[in-house]
């Protein structure tokens, strides 16, 4: 009897080991990273992510977007995004004012363009940038038009085809740069700046409500508290706190706001939070657990990391800012892996731009 029980135990253990092995390799979806290369004949470079963080180009990479990039514009304008629910990848083409849509093969990472891609925004990016983001329910894609100061809203069909909704584009008060849709799907936050650069200093985030039919209504602009220019925003999973990075040439500056149920923003105690040195702190990103806020500093080649308290306040982590490796580092856009164990940083290797 004891022998049989041992056999059963071993058999069960083998099943468990097999299940874990298969879960972690053959049957599991892969981990991939995609870049908007922003090239004249624009492409997406695609890499698989090894368990040690090593990147390997996947078959078929780079993939043509059939659009035109421009290799320039604001750093915080996020030109690539994924619809969480449907495995669609969205890539903006600044030079041709359109958005390419791909299906992601969850096993291989390969990309297949959807029928009709790319889709025209109907507005002008002014060769500056088009930021893209989807609503949490996957019904709408938002695309900002930095050159024409407005926002295109597309409805997203189940096959990935985009259609501009009635009323689109929706005007912004200033040129849109970094954007974020609140995880509850109620609001679109837009960091606004002045393009082309002028003597005018713009330091604000404009918040919009998002209706069930996708239409946007401005709730007004909310000023940054520092001396820089608000360029990028992120919102925590509870849709309670919003963080904005202020580009400037001295310290890393982050504004922190509480978000009211009507979408109005109020700076929390201690905001703005400063950490030095951090030259041109354009891009902000919360970790998936909302416990860490990362900021990329383009001109000081570093990443600043803050600990996020339950009341939304920030404290710089020991060892921060963290230097970038490489001959000429230039950290720009960031993303984390779904589980938060990796931080990916786009490095465009430009000097002084």
């Amino acid at each position: 009897m004891k022998y049989r029980a041992t056999l059963l135990h071993w058999g069960r253990s083998l099943l468990t080991v097999a299940a874990v092995l298969f879960h972690g390799s053959m049957w599991a979806q892969g981990n991939f990273v995609y870049t908007n290369d922003d090239q004249p004949s624009n492409t997406v470079s695609a890499f698989s992510v090894g368990s040690d963080g090593t990147l390997t180009a996947i078959a078929g990479s780079p993939f043509s977007t059939n659009g035109v990039g421009f290799r320039g514009g604001p750093f915080a304008t996020n030109r690539i995004g994924i619809a969480v629910m449907d495995n669609f990848l969205f890539v903006s083409n600044t030079g041709s004012d359109n958005v390419s849509v791909f299906n992601i093969n969850p096993r291989t990472g390969g990309l297949t363009p959807v029928a009709g891609s790319p889709f025209a925004t109907g507005s002008s990016s002014g060769d500056l940038g088009i930021a893209v983001s989807t609503t949490p329910d996957g019904r709408y894609l938002v695309a900002t038009n930095t050159g024409s100061n407005n926002i295109t809203v597309f409805s997203l069909a189940s096959n990935g085809i985009l259609s501009r909704i009635v009323g689109s584009p929706f005007p912004t008060l200033k040129s849109p740069d970094g954007i974020r849709i609140s995880p509850d799907g109620k609001f679109l936050a837009v960091a606004e700046t002045a393009f082309p650069p002028s003597e005018e200093t713009t330091n604000q985030v404009e918040n919009f409500s998002i209706a069930q039919n996708g239409t946007l209504t401005s709730l007004g602009a909310f000023a940054g508290g520092g001396t820089g220019s608000l360029t990028d925003v992120d919102i925590d999973c509870s849709s309670s706190f919003l963080y904005g990075g202020e580009a400037n040439d001295t310290n890393t500056i982050v504004d922190a706001y509480s978000i009211a149920s009507n979408g109005s923003l109020t700076a929390i105690s201690g905001s703005p939070f400063l950490a030095g040195p951090g030259d041109n702190s354009n891009v902000v990103l919360l970790s998936p657990d909302d416990k860490t806020l990362f900021v990329s500093n383009q001109f000081s080649d570093t990443i600043t990391a803050f600990s996020v308290a339950s009341n939304g306040s920030l404290s710089q982590l020991a060892g921060s800012p963290f230097p970038m490796r490489g001959v000429v580092a230039f950290p720009v856009g960031m993303a984390t892996s779904g589980d938060g164990s990796f931080l990916f940083v786009a490095d465009n290797n430009q000097v002084g731009t």
Binding site: R12, L15, T16, A19, V20, H23, N31, F32, V33, Y34, T35, N36, D37, D38, Q39, S45, G53, T54, L55, P62, R71, G72, G73, F75, N78, I80, I82, V84, I104, G129, P136, P183, C237, S238, S287, P288, K291, T292, F294, S307, L317, F322, M324, R325, G326, A329, V332, M334, A335, S337, G338, F342, L343, F344, V345, A346, D347, N348, N349, Q350
Partner: protein
Amino acid sequence: MKSSISMFNVAKDGTIAEVSGSPFSTGQSSGLHSLTAYPPKSCVLPVGIQIKPPASAPVVINPQSKGKIPVAILSTVTFNAVTQVSPNSLTFGHTGNEVSLAFCDTRGEDVNGDGLVDLVCYFNTRQTEFAAWDTTAVLKGQTITGRKIRASESIRTVPK
């Protein structure tokens, strides 16, 4: 000069350390501003389900049935469905928003033989609002800490 991707390990305390071999060249000319990861960061926790365990997908569902559909929310090594899912938050059906929960067996059961106890809940078929052309069933809910969960599985419907 080529664009590249710098890779960092993120420690539990949020500190970062660049991985060996980083940065990785994209092979493209400079100008890289933006990247994204798959699976993406999400405030909704994706979970696995098995409908009518131990049946394999796509399971057959008769939308006109007066019975109940058992659905197992699968545990993993990092997610205990029995202790972490709030049963009363669960909705299941055509869109995932259908209020169709009958009850959950909170004792749990290992339905897929992986040695981990799964949460099995039962949903009233007629309240799931499945239609004849449906090919996907969606489950939504929350963890006991309030984080949203979502799962989907292939189905095949048959007429009465």
